[in-house]
């Protein structure tokens, strides 16, 4: 997924975005299934475009993701939670805190895919065998401009878990902010 935005900004808003009933939870099960699918795709595209690894529900509800100012229509909080809950079941999002359900990690790209991107980067910069702290990995200058720069630590965790399973890396330490990782 080339992160570079092409000349004309790709229209990330689906046709449905300008269709007022899109913001009302449809009573009919079949229609609701189509609505759910449309919202799920839209949320992923929106986050990918804005490179958002997490969505904080309350702010999102006012952002143009869930609120179409032109039509003066917004998705109700309860309905937004229902959409995100459905996406969680499909493994597309993850509640940061299952209880509060206030913020969600958005896997607009699967951890497995991220693992490949990361591994390709490690090879390209020859960091094999060296140890890096998680912080450095996603916020250090050397990863400036990389796609995974600014990745949310929890997302990074699940990505590294995949790499560990594949034997491409080994995490060191337990405290989340001092953890390091050694790539092979």
């Amino acid at each position: 997924m080339s992160a570079t935005t092409s000349t004309t900004p790709p229209n990330i808003y689906p046709d449905l975005y300008n269709f007022p009933p899109f913001f009302t939870r449809q009573p009919n099960t079949t229609t609701f299934a189509a609505q759910l699918h449309a919202w799920s795709t839209f949320i992923l595209t929106y986050c990918r475009h804005h490179r958002l690894f997490t969505l904080e529900l309350s702010t999102a509800l006012d952002s143009d993701l869930f609120h179409n100012k032109a039509l003066n229509r917004r998705l109700k909080p309860a309905d937004a939670v229902e959409v995100l809950e459905a996406m969680r079941k499909d493994g597309l999002v993850e509640w940061v805190d299952g209880a509060t359900r206030s913020t969600v990690l958005v896997y607009w790209r699967k951890p497995a895919e991220w693992a490949e991107v990361l591994y390709r980067w490690v090879e390209s910069v020859g960091q094999k065998g060296s140890v890096l702290t998680l912080w450095e990995l996603v916020n250090g200058e050397m990863t400036e401009g990389e796609e995974f720069h600014g990745m949310h630590p929890m997302v990074l965790q699940s990505v590294l878990a995949v790499m560990v399973k594949r034997g491409q890396a080994q995490t060191i330490g337990t405290e989340i902010d001092e953890m390091g990782v050694k790539f092979f």
Binding site: D15, F19, P20, Q26, N28, T30, T31, N72
Partner: protein
Amino acid sequence: MQKGVGLGALTRNTKASQIYASHGERIQKAHLEELATQLNVFQAVLQEFARRHAKDIRSNPTFRAEFAQMCSAIGVDPLTSSSSKKGSFWAEMLGTSMNDFYFELAVRVVELCRATREGNGGLIAVAEVRDRIMKKDERTGGSSNISEDDILRAVESLKPLGSGFSVIAIGRRQMIRSVPKELNTDQSTVLEVIQVLGFVTPSMLRANLTWDRARVQTALEDLLSDSLVWVDDQADENEYWSPTFISQGLQP
């Protein structure tokens, strides 16, 4: 598609008729022979033309419609079997360009209707089908030029496969119905009213159609239960929108 216009139908009628009034016979016979030879000539012309202009037939929708009409007028039904076993030049020639074109289009219409069925309850405007297929072609580099008549002909060609796809008119718009369930009259009337603004409210219906509250509610509930309309409850009165307006984008 053999609507009884073709020669197949001619042969059937002729068997049933009796001797022609004598004084008109001679003229009739002459005229007839002249027509027969003309038909032969014309058929050869069509055949020769079809061979040389296959690409144009495929790309030019208006002519394709006329070509199909010409074929059916002289008894050639472009959509019949393209098994073309004995290598007859015509069926083969048509087989490769026209027949395949309509069958391929029919396949894409079937797939599109099936994909959008959940969002529109199996009722989609022919114009929307045409736009979506053309947009998809542009995206994949093709530059197909498809007319609404082609789409109607493609849906028509699905007839032998049993009920399922039919073309119905809602107001002036041709719609494709891909679900066997028929619409009752109230549902069609409401859908027609919706076409004006894209949505309708109970009070609008009561005003325009002078229906009582119960009848309006039943009609709207029937439409909802068949997933033919989406409801918007953030306006001061519930608005019932038709999905056909999704793809047209509502900004002025």
